[in-house]
Every structure is written in C-alpha cells, then in structure tokens.
Amino acid sequence: MRDGIAIATKGLPAVALVTEAFWPQGDFVAESFGMPDIPRLKLPHPVAGTGQQKMREIADALVKQMLGALVR
C-alpha cells in the first residue's frame, strides 16, 4: 500500500494489490496518508505459498482490472 502511495505521489499511475486479510490495513494506511481513494485491488488471501498454478489464476482473473486502474 505504501509503495502504491509512494508511486502515486510522484504522479505516476499506481494500483496497490492488497489481499483480503490486509484490506482493513490498506484502508488505514490510505487514510493515514490522506489518500483514501488511492486505487487498490483486492486479492484472495493467501497468495504467497499457494503455488505457481494458483498465482497464475489470480493474475489472470485480475489483469484486466489492474490495467484498467492504471490507464484510467
């Protein structure tokens, strides 16, 4: 989330990828930085350690939304 904010504050397109379990923390950080509307996408939790196949499925499911958020 902080990386997304850091990139966005440089004026570059950014979207933060946040897993479901960390969604409230994402909201907290976004509000703490005064950027409550910073673009973010919700991923299932967990992602790490779920294997290549599962991660590929998650990427495939989200890639359009991700690109959409970046080119808005």
Binding site: R2, F22, P24, Q25, F28, V29, S32, F33, A48, G49
Partner: protein
C-alpha cells in the same frame, strides 16, 4: 494541545477508553489533566514539544501525548526520562517503526537500560524475574512505550498492527543490565557510550526463548557447550534470523553463564564472534524447511544468520542459574532490525514533590 473529554466517573472513563481501543486491554490510570501535567512538568520540557511523527498513523509524539501514555501505564515522574529517550529511539529512522508496527511478525521493542538511570528512574530491575511481573518501573515504563505506539502511532491489532499473534512482550518489555554482577563492561560502554552515561537501547525482539545449560566446572571446554546451546536458540532454523538473516538479536546471559564464559577468558566481543560463527545454516537445510526462501545456490553453501558479530546484543541480567535467554528478531525493514541507543537525559528533568 489535547482536547478534553468528560465522564461521570473514572469507571465510566475507563470503559470509554476500552471501547475506543485506546488501552492495551488492561485497566489504565485515567489521564486527567492534573496527572498529565504532573508528568509533563517532570520532563522539564514544553507540553507541545514534538519528538517526532509516529507511524503508521503519523501522530505527533508531543511531550504531552507521551505523558498521557505514561499516566495510563501507571508511571511515576521518575520514569519519564527513560520513556522520553525510548520514544526518541524508536522514532529514529534506523528503527523503521512504521514498518515494524505493521508487520505480521511478532516483534516488539525490547528496552535495555544501562547506567545510573537504572536506579534514578524508579529502580529498573535487572535480576531475578526482571522480564516478569512484580517490578513497577519495568512494567510501567515498557507499557508506556507500547501505549505511545498504539495511541500516537495508531497500531491496532488486525487493522494496522498485523502481527499474526504478537507476544506478551508487546504489553511491556523492559529490563536493566545487571552491571554490578556482570564480568563484562556494560552494554552501553561496548556500544561507545561513557560508563557514567545513562542509555536506553531499543531493539525489535521476539519473545524471550529460554536456553538451558548445566555447566561442568571440571570440563576444560565447559564454555563450548554453553556457546553451542546459545547459538542453537539464537539462530535456530525456525527464526527469521536463519532465513532472512541480518537482523540484530539479543542474548541475555544470566550471571552464572556469564561467569562460565568469562572464566574461559572470553570477552564480550569474543562471545559475539563465537556466536556469529556458530549461527549459520547450509542452503540445503534452509531449502528443506523453507523452500520458498531457498536461493538456488550450492547446497553446501552456508548462510550466516548475522552480517557481523555486532548484530548480537549481549547483556547480563537475571538470577544466577541454569537459564539464559535469547531473543531472535524480525530482520526486515529498510534498516533490517537495527538496534538504536539513546542517552537518557537526567539533568533536564524536574523532581516532582509527591
């Protein structure tokens, strides 16, 4: 300056503080203006003096806000110099507080106090049970630091503090070094401070892990067994130190164990060097338990848990006996779990009449 809230009674105020998530879950002393002013006065500093900005919420750590936390924790005016220095230490960039508060690891700031402040600031325990209950200064000072992290820094379990379980040291984690019984120069002297300085050292630490060693005074290599078990505990394969490496970790020798090492002719530096050399694992062993962190190098290559012996903080405390303690660490953040030491300014503080 802070806004004031009103309540019909202290019990009502306490319940409100609990409901708002402003406590650590235990009852607190209600921070009335009179109580807060008294601790602000003890610091000798203006109430609105800002020590820094505390993440992740970005709250301003003013003397007044710190005093509010100290009142809530049950602190005495004498405790304030240690608390102010500790807050300054965790606000140091090298401590990576914002990242530390947000991590899923259980890390908590361990406070180690050296020098005259051990006596002057309320009697900070260094001997039997120093990390357990029963010592007001240890309990209150450590708790005050945690309450600043929660109420100024905004650390909320499961929302902004993502520690998966945390550990009991997140309530309070403070002790002094027993310099009088230690066969080694005090920790703060080893870190470059004057022996007459008072210093608080903060370091992100896991809960203490007990290390048992029953020595054999007749054995020529008595100290070797002790070094071996200390290294097993400090850099065991389940720790971040073994896998991520490079995070400062802590060893608390009880006086008996310290004596075994000193009688073998080992200095503090020798002990840290010996532990550094022993805390290492083959890539094969790391890959076997944590394949996601394997580096794909030769399985015979070894990974050191620490970048240098300086990343091992060695101190003496506790009662004499079979058990010492090790605290492995988080090892992440930009500065990779650096310890930060800060002089405790005793001269600036005012003595407050009871």
């Amino acid at each position: 300056m802070s806004d004031y809230l009103t309540a019909e009674s202290e019990i009502e105020a306490l319940e409100w503080l609990h409901d708002q998530g402003l406590t650590d879950g235990l009852p607190v002393v209600i921070p009335t203006p009179e109580r807060v002013d008294r601790l602000v006065l003890a610091t000798g500093q203006p109430a609105d003096l800002t020590l820094g900005t505390m993440g992740p919420a970005g709250g301003a750590a003013t003397i007044e806000k710190v005093a509010v936390a100290a009142v809530m924790a049950g602190c005495l005016p004498d405790h304030m110099p240690v608390i102010v220095a500790a807050v300054q230490a965790i606000l140091d960039d090298r401590f990576d507080l914002t990242e530390m508060q947000a991590t899923t690891h259980c890390t908590a700031p361990l406070m180690i106090v050296n020098g005259p402040a051990r006596v002057d600031c309320g009697g900070i325990a260094a001997s039997f049970g120093a990390l357990g209950p029963g010592f007001r200064a240890n309990a209150s000072i450590g708790r005050a630091l945690r309450l600043t992290m929660m109420n100024i820094g905004g650390a909320r379990p499961g929302v902004s503090d993502m520690a998966l379980l945390g550990h009991p040291g997140k309530f309070s984690y403070c002790l002094a070094e027993d310099e009088e019984v230690s066969p080694f120069p005090p920790l703060h002297v080893a870190l470059g401070f004057d022996q007459f300085d008072s210093v608080v050292t903060v370091v992100g630490a896991e809960a203490p892990h007990s290390v048992m060693y029953s020595g054999d005074a007749d054995a020529e290599d008595n100290h070797e067994g002790l070094l071996r078990v200390l290294a097993i505990g400090l850099g065991n394969l389940a720790t971040n130190n073994a896998i991520l490496t490079s995070g400062t970790a802590t060893v608390v020798l009880n006086p008996e164990h310290a004596q075994i090492l000193a009688e073998a002719g080992l200095s503090r530096e020798d002990i840290c060097q010996a532990l550094y050399e022993r805390c290492r694992h083959s890539e094969e062993d790391i890959a076997a338990v944590n394949p996601g962190f394997a580096r794909g190098e030769s399985t015979r290559t070894h990974r050191s848990c620490f970048t240098s012996p300086d990343q091992i903080l060695l101190m003496v405390a506790g009662g004499a006996g079979l058990y010492s303690m090790v605290m492995p660490s988080w090892c992440a953040g930009h500065h990779r779990n650096s310890a930060v030491s800060r002089v405790i300014e005793l001269d600036a503080f005012c003595e407050i009449p009871v």
